[in-house]
């Protein structure tokens, strides 16, 4: 078969489906936002979201456009190693809930940066907030570009117009809806994208001759023998232990530092509801992720067994291509609407995080006495401003920002997660350690990425491009710096007198739910030494050459 770039034949039904879905998004945003009476309501949805809706919302902010496009493309390229990479994303919310979600919720903060401000002070929070805005911009830009490309394909307009129109539509409904609108919209979008992804996949599998079409996420074993004949290396591990181990600091710990995921825990009506949402999240995430692997598998199977050759630039359209081959046009249109919903749910969560960072962590800190009406205007402006910046940057993005979204995970793991984890669980962590850890490790992570100085890297290839080698070095480095600098400076009286040490220690006890203070809790020097020693060993492991390939 001739290799040619795929194009949408008749976009009319797709345009109708997308238009109708946007009408729904705006209506849900406007209707649900009427409940927001105060600024806290706006950013946390009045802490009133039930566990199923919240679980859907949590899963939805994870189901980015990548679920429909990037993931399947990468399965086509990387095959099973990419599946391994994706599986661990399900750990994010359970780990956030376990390690700091509930304590931060008890403290009543909106973002991890707010916690950093309360725990380590203003200067450290500015450093973290700047890194967080960078992380969210990296994340949002990838989504904006993806949505613009789908709009470009659908409406046949140029990229700039598609980006401006698509971006403005998204920013509009997020600003109108606040966290109420975003949460209910995210739940609706999760249902929409789940159906749009999984049901048509069943029809695709039936078309390919699979008898397990009625449950696509898991029942495609009968296609495996043909796959092994056509693509014998599909299930090969390909990479070495170090590559797979690096997924832990890069993506697992990285996800723990992403503010837009943590924010979902603060919208729950109570702690038990937040934990219930976590269980629902694992269900919704698991079923959609498993379907994504099945879609990627089907894409490889289709290419290998049908004789069709998919152009590399079309790899990210494999979901759409399979639907165009095996399903009628209206199903393809529904899938496109689902893909856009997936992109929107993530961008809206990113914009909420950017807005909260700007409004709550930066401006509200500089101007703490703003009245409620001005704060409301500020909230809208923060989201609109963040969205506008993302659109403008996405018009002609600098190379270093158009890196994989996975690099944003790595940066979050380096600059945010260690500070929050140690801040919640170790009383001895102080502002000197936190500032040194986040600043030095964050800057080093950026410098050793191949996008800044291509020759100043500790590894090459995929692990370097995705920020895995950088995170394997810089995440433990941050833990090492926070613990050692804190332990040293806590023993220097001239430095300790500048820290509200006693207040910080009581804060740690209180966010764990203790009403009576005990000096011994969360205060072990031995724990600090162990964390520093293990981190130092991991830093050495990261620097040692080799181990990345099988």
């Amino acid at each position: 078969m001739e290799k040619q770039q795929w194009a949408l034949e008749d976009p009319t039904i797709g345009i109708i489906f997308v238009a109708v879905s946007f009408i729904f998004f705006y209506f849900i945003g406007w209707y649900s936002a009427r409940a927001a009476k105060t600024s806290t309501d706006y950013w946390t949805a009045g802490r009133s979201i039930g566990s199923v809706t919240n679980g859907l919302g949590m899963a939805s902010s994870y189901m980015s456009l990548a679920t429909f496009m990037g993931v399947t493309a990468l399965i086509l390229k990387l095959k099973v190693p990419f599946v391994y990479m994706w599986i661990q994303f399900g750990l994010s919310i359970p780990l956030i809930t376990l390690w700091y979600g509930t304590p931060l919720r008890r403290l009543g903060v909106f973002t991890p940066a707010q916690f950093v401000r309360e725990r380590y002070g203003l200067r450290t929070s500015y450093v973290v907030a700047i890194f967080m805005v960078l992380i969210m911009v990296m994340y949002a830009i990838g989504q904006m570009i993806g949505v613009a490309k789908v709009f470009e394909m659908l409406f046949g307009v140029n990229y700039t117009l598609a980006l401006i129109c698509g971006g403005a539509l998204i920013v509009g409904y997020v600003a109108i809806g606040g966290m109420y609108g975003t949460s209910y919209n995210a739940a609706f979008q999760m249902v929409l994208m789940g159906i749009a992804f999984i049901v048509p996949l069943g029809a695709i599998m039936k078309g390919m001759g699979s008898s397990g079409w009625y449950f696509p996420p898991l029942l495609y074993a009968d296609m495996v023998p043909a796959m092994l004949d056509a693509v014998p290396d599909f299930f090969d591990m390909k990479y070495g232990f170090k590559w797979y181990f690096a997924l832990i600091p890069t993506l697992t710990i990285g996800a723990m530092g992403l503010p837009h995921l943590g924010m979902r825990i603060y919208t729950a009506s109570n702690l038990k509801s937040a934990r219930g949402a976590m269980v629902w999240f694992t269900f919704f995430c698991g079923i959609t992720f498993s379907a994504t692997y099945a879609m990627g598998f089907s894409g490889v199977f289709f290419q290998a067994t049908s004789g069709a050759i998919i152009a590399p630039e079309d790899y990210d359209k494999i979901t759409l291509i399979l639907n165009s081959v095996y399903n009628p046009p209206w199903v393809l249109a529904f899938v496109i609407a689902g893909a856009i919903a997936a992109g929107l749910s993530t961008i809206s969560a990113n914009l909420m995080a950017i807005g909260a960072l700007i409004a709550q962590d930066i401006i509200a800190t500089i101007k703490p006495n703003l009245d409620e009406s001005r704060t409301k205007v500020l909230n809208y402006c923060a989201i609109a401003g963040g969205g506008l910046a993302a659109i403008l940057i996405a018009l002609n993005p600098p190379d270093f920002l158009v890196v994989s979204v996975l690099c944003a995970f790595g940066l979050a793991g380096v600059t945010v997660a260690p500070l929050v984890i140690l801040g919640v669980w170790w009383k001895q962590a102080n502002r000197y350690g936190a500032t040194a850890g986040t600043f030095i490790s964050g800057i080093l992570y950026i410098l050793i990425s191949p996008y800044i100085f291509p020759d100043f890297v500790i590894s090459s290839g995929l692990q370097s491009a995705l920020g895995m080698s950088g995170a394997l070095l810089c995440v433990p480095l941050c833990f090492f710096l926070v613990t050692t600098v804190s332990m040293i400076t806590n023993r220097i009286p001239s430095l300790v007198k500048h820290i509200p040490l006693d207040e910080n220690k009581r804060l740690v006890d209180s966010i764990h739910g203790w009403t009576v203070y005990n000096e011994e809790r969360y205060n072990s020097t031995m724990a600090g030494i162990i964390i520093a020693a293990v981190s130092a060993l991991l830093v050495i492991y990261a620097i040692l050459p080799g181990g990345w390939v099988a």
Partner: protein, 86 residues
């Protein structure tokens, strides 16, 4: 130090290990190559076991985690008036 505090630390470490095992059980197949290549439910073991652990295994662990940590919160709240000795 009271038992609720010890339980909190124990649960956090235990569930962190269990969660990491469910999400990263592929590491075992990288570390121990003889585990690979066995067929389970029609799929190679190194594929289907991590997929199932990352979904069903994770759901089970988080459900237990939610139950036990909810109970622990109740226990800490019930200790509100207890003054401890340091």
């Amino acid at each position: 130090m009271n038992s609720a505090y010890k339980k909190e630390i124990r649960y956090t470490l235990l569930f962190s290990v269990l969660l990491l095992l469910t999400g990263h059980c592929g590491l075992f197949f990288v570390a121990f190559p003889p585990l690979r290549g066995h067929m389970l439910f029609g799929f190679p073991s190194q594929f289907i076991i991590p997929v199932l652990m990352g979904w069903i295994g994770l759901m089970v662990v988080t459900a237990i985690q939610a139950k036990l940590t909810n109970d622990l919160d109740d226990e800490i709240e019930a200790m509100e008036d207890v003054v401890e000795e340091s």
